[in-house]
Amino acid sequence: MADYKYNEGHAWALIEGDTAKFGITPYAAEQLGDIVYVDLPTVGDTVSAGDTFTEVESSKTSSEVPAPLSGEIIAVNEELDDDPENINEDAYANWIIEIKLDDPSEADALLDADAYDEICE
């Protein structure tokens, strides 16, 4: 998991060049329980680090998730429209959005896996 970065809002970011995919962490998925809906934003919209980029509804609660990084949304994972529970099965494989990064150096402020694990304890 060396390439994943995290924010304190339990979102992960996987950076590939000047783009990044976002998802929620397995810890978040476990806390939420059975996910029944993922509110996907619109391609072309922009997100800012710290602002809500998706809202995930489970059988327990609806939960807003803050974006780890800023940029323009270039793709959303539409499979989650029909199968939101995929996130429960594999929270890393099931990314939610992909963005074109405004400023790749923003990633320096994110947590690495060890630091993220600490806040989950």
Partner: protein, 320 residues
Amino acid sequence: MPSLIFAESNSHDPYFNLSFEKYLFDNVKEGELILYLWQNERTAVCGRNQNIYKECNLTALERVGGKVARRLSGGGAVFHDLGNINFSFIARDALYDVDKQLKVIQKALEHFGLIAEKSGRNDLTVNGRKFSGNAFHRADGVSCHHGTIMIDVDRALLEKVLTVSDKKLKSNGVDSVTSRIVNLRDLNAEITIEEIKEALLIACLKVYEEENFDSEIIVGSNNVISATGRSGWIASGSMLTMLQELADNKDFFASDDWIFGKNPDFTATINRSYDWGDAEICLVVESDIITDCKVWSDSLYPEKIADLEKSLIGKKYSEL
């Protein structure tokens, strides 16, 4: 010192009441637990990710001058009128405890000799019949647990409003679950809204007795909130900022963008009669905008069909 904050709305406007709840949610501090009580005039309130057309009979609602609203929490559609009272528990993570919060409702009912039990994740029942539906929302380390308490709701209207016969609508999103419901008044004729409110406050103080809370009361009425109590909860920010926040929240909850635009994308089939013939119209709707349309008709005027298709694309479904 931790504080227990009782908030109450004197308004029956669902958009103001949701706005007040959001204000409390956005401003609650560490060490504060808020219990907010509110009532809406006739309103269908659907869950955050539900398709309103699938869950609420808007025609039946309009006939009685009712309103439709969408809340921030998940779950299914509910119907409110003045025979129902809503409670919201709002706190940051450290104080938020759903079991304890439900205990408050249970204890309040004990006062009237009723034993309330948890059923599934989201309901409270007496004798297996549901009187309270609960829903949950979380953002930025703050959680809200809110629910209905049916005292004397117009059940006939409730059933009409929450029953939708339109099976021709296909949508993703979250479905409502119907269950056997009961008005508490039918179990104890003495229960009134005023008495349950008092019982809830007393129960809350009892359940949280050990926490040694300071307590205060704030009341909201349409666009004004007055605060009493030692810590001056409201006064900690500027009054102007607060009023602006409330007004913005209210615009948000009352907006078509939120109420109808949040509907998950769906397809609908509707039948309409025109002077040139009957038409079956299939629509694809995204964020309330009709993005695709196909008309089937036995009409002898194919150009009418093409015109109709053209005229519908780009229109708002809510304005059909």
